[in-house]
Amino acid sequence: MNSIEVKDLTKKFGDFTAVDHINFEIKQGEIFGFLGANGAGKTTAMRMLIGLLTPTSGTGTVAGYDVNTQSEEIKKHIGYMSQKFSLYNNLTVKENIRFYGGLYNIPGKELKVKTDELMARLGLTDYANKLLQGLPLGWKQKLAFSVAIQHKPKIVFLDEPTGGVDPVTRRQFWEMIYEAANEGITVFVTTHYMDEAEYCDRVSIMVDGKIAALDTPATLKKQFETENMDGVFRKLARGAARTE
């Protein structure tokens, strides 16, 4: 069964068509890169998938639930890490973990065990009762990702998760993504970094609300006759009408 299926999904704001009849299918455990310039419609498309926006037309399922009618069910089975920072600076490491666990209704006893495990895995046990604001950004980012998948979602949506993070930490972050995918979690990730696009199983590139290309990075590079994803992206983005 496909983890995400989308058919002619469209979102209009007045006269403006932000997302224009997009189609794709994503398999369970796949790492799917969702690329596009600013304003191409990535965020709008993603918001429809996570149940924050209702589509104007088109159909789709996420984790087997209908995006038009079952957004409450969808929310229970996904994790989400927003582009802006999704943890609270004036809560401690432990409180942040427990808060998000509570938000997804993980029972108290189980949550207590999970919290300790998670902190141990991330090497944050010594910082359990420290306020988050003192932590380096990279650590916060890794914590935010771990928190987003602690309720064992079927799919995790990552909206530009590595913005502003140094290359070493980004590398570590991607190792965590691979680990999650190996456990069977589908990863839907948007990014600005073209080297990150290479790490994905498949990549889609949105231009002007439409999906202009969708395939494995290797096939795309061959098709567009360039050596890296950056080249693919540039060739596609050149034709974009919407610019910022």
């Binding site: 996570i50 149940g51 924050l52 926006l53 209702t54 409450e72 929310k75 229970k76 996904i78 989400y80 890490m81 927003s82 582009q83 802006k84 920072f85 999704s86 943890l87 609270y88 004036n90 809560l91 409180e95 427990r98 808060f99 666990g101 509570g102 938000l103 997804y104 209704n105 993980i106 029972p107 108290g108 306020l131 949506f157």
Partner: protein, 369 residues
């Protein structure tokens, strides 16, 4: 109750407790306001400085001057030979009242049964000027009545005044309900709206909305801590006014607390509404302070009597929640009335709360799609 709801409420409490600004706003501000109004800001006039211009220098004028100096509202600080210096005295702020006795003051009284005294007041503050000239006139009236004991007037009307509920005209009876109303209004609306808008600004609101928690629950769970804290504020204000300012609660304390809870809900609903139409904390704060503070102050009836306003403003005052709560608090605290005399106000507040809440929820949903 779901654990997600509880987790949200706990989280919100932690935010408030760790944010020094919010905590200060919640706890220190009411204390400061009550103490300020209680001890510093008062429209009672005490120890006004008086300068005497005595052209008479006779028995009657001297007696009166002594009488004025002994009065607790006045303090005679000196005398002048001529009232022409009045302007200069007021400009320098040396005194707020000048009393001029004409020549032959005693003689005129004795022989013509009639004399006059001139009061010159510094009316750049009209309220104070009105109050002190009234007080001074009262001193002269007392003197006159004593003299009348010797002579009989052909007829007289004796006016006896009784000030009900507040015989000593203590201003705290007026400002405690007023300050309570204002603080709750600002606190409830501002704290809630800022708390919600802050999450929008941080981007955490989106994460919360993508969670299984229902949007309504998210918003309500954010309002609950402020409900509790505003309630604590009510208790702080009441304790201070009873034990420090000696303003009694004549009616039922339980009723007062229940009505306060209702008013707090009104302000929280207003805060929710503000949060749905703004994206920035600063804007939310601005709307709460400027958009709510002024109408609340003007139309509560706390500082300016609504009966004296033009009809249009009187009509407008009806949609301002503070007016109704202020009436309720005064009715319970000062007059000692029961629910039967404030049911109308209660129904109005309840109605306002429901309307505000409905509009806020509608707007919130529209915002989502």
């Amino acid at each position: 109750m779901k654990s997600s709801f509880i987790a949200m409420v706990i989280k919100e409490f932690k935010h408030v407790i760790r944010d020094g600004r919010s905590l200060f706003f919640l706890l220190a501000q009411p204390v400061m306001m009550i103490l300020l109004f209680g001890f510093a800001l008062s429209n009672e006039v005490k120890e006004s400085k008086v300068i005497i211009v005595d052209h008479a220098h006779d028995l009657a004028s001297k007696g009166l001057i002594q009488r004025i100096d002994q009065n607790r509202y006045f303090h005679v600080i000196g005398s002048l030979s001529n009232e022409s210096e009045a302007k200069e005295i007021f400009e320098q702020g040396r005194a707020s009242l000048i009393i001029v006795f004409p020549e032959n003051f005693s003689d005129d009284l004795k022989h013509q049964y009639k004399s006059s005294v001139q009061l010159i007041a510094d009316a750049h503050d009209p309220n104070t000027a009105a109050i002190i000239t009234t007080y001074a006139s009262a001193v002269f009236r007392d003197f006159q009545n004593e003299q009348l004991g010797l002579l009989k007037m052909p007829y007289e009307i004796k006016v006896e005044t009784r000030m009900l509920y507040n015989p000593q005209l203590i201003s705290a009876y007026n400002f405690v309900p007023g300050v309570m109303t204002l603080i709750l209004m600002i606190l409830g609306a501002m704290m809630t709206s800022v708390a919600i808008v802050r999450e929008k600004e941080l981007g955490t609101m989106e994460v919360l909305l993508a969670s299984p928690m229902h949007p309504l629950q998210i918003v309500l769970s954010k309002a609950i801590p402020y409900l509790v804290l505003a309630f604590i504020t009510v208790i702080i204000i009441l304790v201070l006014s009873v034990f420090v300012l000696h303003v009694p609660i004549r009616g039922s304390l339980l009723l007062l607390l229940a009505e306060s809870l209702l008013f707090i809900s009104t302000t929280l609903a207003l805060g929710l509404l503000i949060s749905t139409i703004t994206e920035q904390q600063q804007v939310a704060m601005f709307i709460s302070l400027v958009g709510l503070m002024l109408p609340s102050l003007i139309f509560s009836g706390f500082m300016f009597p609504i009966e004296n306003m033009p009809l249009v403003l009187q009509i407008i005052s009806n949609v301002i929640p503070t007016k109704w709560y202020y009436n309720i608090v005064r009715a319970i605290m000062v007059k000692g009335l029961g629910f039967m005399s404030i049911w109308k106000e209660t129904v109005i507040l309840l109605g306002m709360t429901l309307v505000l809440l409905t509009v806020a929820i509608k707007k919130f949903k529209v915002h989502l799609s």
